[in-house]
Amino acid sequence: MSAAVTDHEHDHEHHDHKPSGIKRWFYTTNHKDIGSMYLIFALVMFFIGGAMAMVIRAELFQPGMQFVEPNFFNQMTTVHGLIMVFGAVMPAFTGLANWMIPMMIGAPDMALPRMNNWSFWILPFAFLILLMSLFMPGGGPSFGWTFYAPLSTTYSGDSTALFVFSVHIMGISSIMGAINVIVTIFNLRAPGMTWMKMPLFVWTWLITAFLLIMVMPVLAGVVTMVLTDKYFATSFFDAAGGGDPVLFQHIFWFFGHPEVYIMILPAFGIVSSIVPTFARKPLFGYASMVYATSSIALLSFLVWAHHMFTTGMPVAGALFFMYCTMLIAVPTGVKVFNWVATMWRGAMTFEVPMMFALAFIVLFTIGGFSGLMLAITPADFQYHDTYFVVAHFHYVLVTGAVFSIIAGAYYWLPKWTGFMYDEKLGQWHFWCSLISVNLLFFPMHFVGLAGMPRRIPDYALQFADFNAFISIGGFLFGASQLIFVWVLVKCARGGEKATAQVWEGAEGLEWEVPSPAPYHTFETPPVIK
């Protein structure tokens, strides 16, 4: 790799050479091109998954069945979840990793560029397969994104085969992406970029990548067991054949809980980059942030059964998982305290990235609070599988993960396009999103506590008012994201020229290269002061 890049410095035009047209995108091994493709793909998936959420909210607007049949409703909740988790949030973070990690550590590219190309290009096929399954007789997967056996085995339709295949491809893509991140960070750091000098986004992604290579094979294993139970007469999850349906949940959540942190650790990294920039003050407690992130990652392997308190487990087991889950609140709290301490006595300005980062801190913390409540096992018996849980994970995933991705997009957009985005439109996007997202998800706490189960297409009358309210919030939140697309398109087409540093308080290697970042950056390693 180093031999290939050393003798190009004299000729900038030459090494910006790339195939033109569609071939550039199919053949590219450039981390910036691949990063852009991941991000655009994630945005498209965000809208497809969002459209499904609109179908769900339209049906739930009033009690009774109005628009869809229960079977189709279940397909919508299932595929909405799968697309948002595997198609929107995870690829968006991988896109940001591709764009930013090499620039942050002073590397010329990702360490394994060809694998990088492949790990992106198999993704569209995975989701094409998943989406096509909706058009099969009997429709697509309808057993929830958690695909609990035996609903997903003996009692599912034949789209299950497509579902399994598509999850396999997504898993392969994620594993390759994670390997690439790890190899890049271990081998391509510029001289002087020691571990404890790495930006937190790099740290959180490194830890995320380790989580990914540890749990994605578990997911692959469990979908394969579903496949063989359904089609090849095995009985992993069938009591009649000596299996155990609860075993499925243990394996799934052993993947599923670290997966939750896979979707939030990079968000911590983004917020830890943005807050110091706009507070014009170094991040408070850098080292404790690194240790807190590592502790969260380790603890994430010890809490999976808190998703399963009602499945029936020994008291000792339930207590162990309750205590471990409560413990996670400690390192998570440390992070929030550090962000607040970073702001304290800073000189803050409130551009769009900062607004989204601030909203992240408050709303993610609210999601954390409901998470702490859910950890209390006796109370969980009342919360479990109600809208309270739906409220909880949408606070951590939408106002958490998605808000951080949007914050990151605004933050680095000038670096990517070379133009400043439209600040006024961005502020509109922020305020519309902030208000509507709370109209959408906050009342879900109330309907959940009042006893509305999740994943039902129709509900008792006492939940009617709040559901109408939630649906309106949902439609507004969906519409607000169109402003985001408008900002992105406008920024890609032109605008005020961005400087190399872009933000007054920005520090780090990515702000030392020109905006837009040249096609190849750091072909000679930078000097780290």
Partner: protein, 380 residues
């Protein structure tokens, strides 16, 4: 409870309402009617207020900082960025709070899991999409199905007060006695949940879970299945009626008599022939209650998941096969065994109905005796 009123609500008023314990519309977890449910409610409120207090402090400092420490006020940023003391402090304080919280939670959990010394035991079996209750040590068992008419669901009729939370036969339990529930399932995983008792336990096929409750007040308590169990997951409610022990005993004896009488009638039926008209009318009623969820009211099924009966080879030609599949179900599919769910008369009628409705005009009658013959032929 009109729509317009809900639209007038703003977020601040919602937040206020959350803390104000409003009674008009349920906003909070129910206190329930048992000692355990009261403890669970107390735990919920304790952790809620702890979160509120932490939130008030953290967000308070944050917003203070946002207001005061802004560049627009011309402040110079400080440059401090580390303090081991502070880090230790804000690691230790949450740990202490959590330990304080864990103690009552542990106590309640241990009490909830103690199913010993029960006075009454009920076996609860979930199946797509109904509950079955069996009183152990008594000859009483029955299915409990959604009682809300389909016309209300598809918005043809006005919805009743207990829309989707009403059943044909509720579970009845005595007050003041410890009632133990054994949960299992015939097909997929269901979850039996009655919020007023703070009991939610999964019904796993092939395994038995335990839970218990002790209700002091007579009353009607409603709940729902809480684990996604397929297409009609939203339509399998739970209704529990708690009765004073004397009323409960009377009810139990009445049920035992009713069931014994029905069994005796079955035997008489074997020598009787029912008319086409009677079979079709009983058949249609049974079909709507038990079969239409999957095979659809028009008999066309859902392609790819639930097979059509209209024009199917079995419904047109194979009478013994038809009786057999209704009695015993089809292993490895969603088709349940109805031998224990329906009477001989109902099975005969529903098969006759399926062979003569929607243009399946075979003209064939299936009588209770025919069903009985297939049952015997199986050798049990």
């Amino acid at each position: 409870m009109t729509k317009t009123r809900s639209l007038r609500w703003s977020l601040p008023s919602l937040l206020l309402a959350a803390t104000a314990n409003a009674t008009d519309m349920p906003l909070n977890m129910t206190k329930g009617v048992t000692e355990i449910s009261q403890q669970v409610y107390d735990l919920h409120m304790t952790i809620f207020w702890i979160c509120c207090a932490i939130g008030a402090v953290v967000f308070g400092i944050m917003f203070w900082s946002i207001v005061r420490h802004r560049k627009a006020r011309g402040v110079q940023p400080a440059q401090f960025h580390e303090s081991t003391k502070v880090e230790i402090l804000w690691t230790a304080i949450p740990v202490i709070i959590l330990i304080i919280m864990a103690i009552p939670a542990t106590k309640t959990l241990i009490a909830m899991e103690d199913t010993t010394e029960a006075d009454v035991t009920v076996l609860v079996t979930g199946s797509q999409w109904k509950w079955h209750y069996k009183y152990l040590n008594h000859d009483v068992e029955f299915y409990s199905l959604l009682a809300t008419p389909r016309e209300q669901i598809i918005n043809k009729f006005a919805k009743g007060e207990n829309y989707l939370l009403e059943v044909d036969r509720p579970l009845v339990i005595p007050t003041g006695k410890k009632v133990r529930f054994l949960m299992t399932s015939d097909d997929v995983i269901h979850s039996w949940w009655v919020p007023a008792f703070a009991v939610k336990k999964d019904a796993n096929p092939g395994f038995i879970n335990e839970a218990w409750t002790k209700v002091e007040q007579p009353g009607i308590y409603r709940g729902q299945c809480a684990e996604l169990c397929g297409k009609d997951h939203g339509y399998m409610p739970i209704v529990v009626v708690a009765k004073a022990p004397a009323d409960y005993d009377a009810w139990l004896n009445g049920e035992a008599e009713r069931i014994a009488k029905a069994k005796a009638e079955e035997q008489e039926l074997l020598s009787m022939n029912m008319s086409m008209e009677e079979l079709m009318s009983v058949g249609e009623r049974t079909y709507t209650a038990y079969c239409a969820a999957c095979h659809q009211p028009n008999g066309e099924g859902l392609p790819g998941i639930f097979p059509a009966l209209k024009g199917s080879a079995m419904a047109l030609n194979d009478i013994p096969g038809h009786i057999n599949i209704v009695l015993n179900g089809q292993a490895g599919t969603a088709m349940q065994a109805y031998a224990k769910q329906l009477s001989l008369k109902e099975i005969a009628a529903v098969i006759t109905y399926e062979r003569n409705a929607w243009g399946n005009n075979t003209g064939e009658l299936v009588q209770a005796a025919d069903v009985h013959a297939v049952m015997q032929g199986k050798g049990d």
